[in-house]
Symmetry: C2
Subunit: 494 residues, 2 copies
């Protein structure tokens, strides 16, 4: 049942195929992505967004790596909160149920503990495992060259090097760390002379001109056991903790132990905690059309520009605007004479700022968080394994949703204590369990689910089911739900 | 049953009261107000908007003048299209049915024909009528001083002067015409030396410094017969047309004659066509906190400013913005570091432009018009005499509306050929006529109106009725309606 999408046209040689048997991916998906508000939300971090493409960033990352690494050897390292959404997205894009392919961090502690935890798990699976560490929320345009780079790095990793992938800079970026290469080890591979923090503009320009500096991409290749050895040497406390977790794996105490260990760890990046201190480092410089999509500003490198240097996405009417980024949806956004601005529009929120202030979006998010605003937490449309729902309006004692259910999908068998629901079918056929009755509801027909009555909504048909739900009651939040049975094994939320 | 709102605290003396018996107002409401998009729409021109106040501009204009002129002598000069909305707004704010107080232009031909037509009607009512001409979409902050100015002007009008009200300038505005005063006729009243077109910045600054120039406000006071005499002299073709219309008033041919006359008239302003050529002109200079609200830019003169010189209305989060105007609603608008910008946000459209480009909003409207966009024509929420409806979503073969019905109000008895309707009551009580049945529907209850079935919705209660309507069908526009009976005497639309 493994279906690999977007594998590209190139086929690997038999030799390369043999090498890839050892390869495992650890995709790091921990970010909250506040810099992409209003498109990102607490329950929709950056890796779950599609930015100008059909695939979301994490779907793209998995798709890209799946040509070189079999999907069953691709793991996502993330926290509990994101498991359901990522599982849903990756199950959809790969066609396999993803729930066995997670390494779940008990809490966020930056990349060193996350990568260490993944290394422990992979090392148990295969003591010779070669681990490809990839951020989940970056963009790479040249997939072919990316694959070649991985294979070059894997060769070095087999010789026990800790390999970092360095990106050939094409502009004096101040937002990235840099790596200066040392002497050539073999064709296309260098030792590392030194790591450099994010530079100022002038220094970045020097690096660019020098030609021996590369952007630190956060992509690494190494044997699981090699990174564990390096952690043992440079971060002994983390190593001790990881060993305690390893001992508990499979026991009743696994979750408890991991939580206890992580809660005591300081947040630390793998770069600063290990790589910059290790001796056996190699860099594979490459030029693969990479972007870390670090802020809205990055869109002008990713999306096409019009003749006035604008990015225009969605329903934008622009008169004499230039050098600006418009990332909009269905609503009309009309701009006159803007220059060097960013405008992002979603159903419930709009962001407007000069390009130079794109990093300050997190200040807006802080204000929304403080206010407890919905616009910080969630979108009007929420995606679920069975489909999606859109809140059309909330009022006093009522809430209206449009619910879309995929063919063959069903919501959990559930009950609400505080609300009754009117359902009107506008497309497709609904199979409704209502108390002890089961019946079908067709377009232009309606049904009523009384309070405290067990019910279930299912799409038995071949086309999408769309219903309008009008909820009535004194409490209309998502957590008023009692689940009896769920085909997606969820315990909370609808 | 005449209820006068916002009459202010000052009471008129008996002498002044006697004088006001002769006073009639002609409020000119013809503008399309494209400069206030996205708040103004084709079916919601500027005079129907409330800008930072509870009253709409036309309600404010009527309220202001009603202290000096009895409401039964206040007439609105407008076109057919706007009669229903204005009637609804003024009936609501004044408490009297307004439908007898219109002078309806057959088509827009600028102010000379509009004022001429009003003069013909007022002259028939009262050969000594003094006519106060007021634009419907301006703002005046000092109502008391405005009243005093009107009475001074009325005194001059009784002596057969054509009186123009001049506004003392407080900035070198280039968007207004100017009037230079001549010698003093009596205290506070001057002859007119000359009229000046909109000046450039430098000239405007000279006018401001000179002290004898005033803004041309578009407010005039004269006897109806005096302006007709002036029209006869300076615009003889218009006069002939007006006399033809007068002859037809009350006959079957009234509408036909007016249409025939107007269709042949050129568009002409009363200033250029008559006033600037007439001899018996007087100016009453005054300082009444006047603004013509000519563009979004004007809001900074009307609404309060924060400590960074921003106007902030609605759900705005601004970080380090200054000198900017934010006119928003419920949606979150987040702005970082804006300077000298205008941002206007409505449910379905957002406008962003530098203050200096506010006049170019009409270019956006042109684009929308060309596209036939809904966002040019109407708002998501549409006001009707019985209440309002909001389109929550339109999809393939369905449309969802929230409908609010005022206590005691009822929609027309109607029928649709192409759609059926599900109604779910979320607040209040609905009395539903459905075919030959009449029944009440309460919160959390629903009912179904089949296609081609006569039906009526009524709020028999004391609190607002709110229902959610889900329409199903192949054609869901407002014009699929057959009206059997309507308490508001409407022939089209719901």
């Amino acid at each position: 049942m493994i279906k690999i999408q977007n594998t590209g046209k190139r086929r690997l040689s038999t030799k390369a195929m043999n090498k890839t048997k050892r390869l495992y991916a650890a995709i790091i998906a921990g970010g909250s992505g506040t810099r992409f508000w209003p498109l990102s939300r607490e329950d929709m971090p950056k890796q779950l967004l599609s930015i100008g493409e059909k695939n979301t960033l994490i779907q793209g990352t998995v798709s890209r790596v799946s040509h070189v690494i079999p999907l069953r050897q691709v793991y996502v390292v993330t926290n509990k909160k994101q498991v359901e959404s990522i599982n849903f997205q990756l199950s959809e894009s790969t066609g396999i149920l993803w729930d066995k392919n997670f390494v779940v961090e008990p809490m966020a502690r930056n990349t060193a503990p996350a990568i260490g935890l993944a290394a422990v798990h992979l090392n148990r699976l295969d003591p010779e495992a070669i681990m490809v560490v990839l951020p989940s929320d970056h963009i790479i345009k040249d997939t072919d060259k990316f694959h070649k780079t991985l294979l070059v790095g894997a060769d070095m990793a087999m010789e026990d090097y800790l390999v970092t992938i360095g990106i050939k800079p094409n502009s004096p970026e101040t937002g990235y760390g840099y790596v200066k290469r040392g002497k050539e080890i073999k064709k296309g591979v260098y030792s590392v002379d030194r790591f450099k923090e994010k530079p100022d503009r002038e220094t970045a320009a020097k690096y660019l001109k020098d030609g021996s500096y590369y952007w630190n991409s956060g992509m690494f290749i190494w044997k699981a056991k090699a990174i564990l050895a390096a952690i043992k040497k440079h971060m002994p406390d983390l190593y001790k903790g990881l060993m305690a977790i390893e001992k508990a794996i499979g026991s009743k105490k696994e979750a408890e132990t991991a939580k206890a260990v992580f809660s005591k760890l300081p947040s630390e990046s793998i770069d600063y905690g290990v790589i910059e201190k290790a001796g056996n480092i190699a860099i594979v410089p490459t030029d693969i059309g990479w972007s870390d999509v670090g802020s809205w500003h990055a869109l002008e490198y990713i999306l096409p520009l019009d003749s006035d240097n604008n990015v225009k996405h969605g329903n934008v009417i622009s008169i004499e605007s230039k050098n600006s980024i418009f990332y909009c949806g269905k609503r009309v956004v009309a701009a006159i004479g803007l220059d060097d601005m960013i405008v992002v529009d979603t159903a419930d929120a709009t962001l407007i700022c000069p390009k130079g202030r794109a990093q300050d979006v997190r200040k807006i998010v802080d204000v929304l968080k403080e206010r407890g605003s919905e616009e910080y937490i969630t979108h009007k449309t929420v995606y679920r394994p069975w489909g999606s729902y859109t809140v059309l309006e909330s009022g006093n004692r009522f809430k209206i949703k449009r619910i879309a259910v995929k063919p063959g999908a069903k919501l959990s068998h559930q009950m609400h204590h505080h609300r009754s629901e009117h359902w009107i079918v506008v497309a497709g056929t609904a199979r409704v369990s209502n108390g002890d009755k089961v019946y079908d509801v067709h377009p232009n027909e309606s049904t009523y689910i009384p309070m405290s009555t067990g019910h279930r909504l299912e799409n038995p048909g071949k086309v999408a089911l769309e219903i309008i739900e009008v909820q009535n009651g004194e409490y209309l939040e998502e957590d008023d739900i009692v689940r009896f049975e769920d085909m997606y094994n969820r315990k909370t939320e609808s």
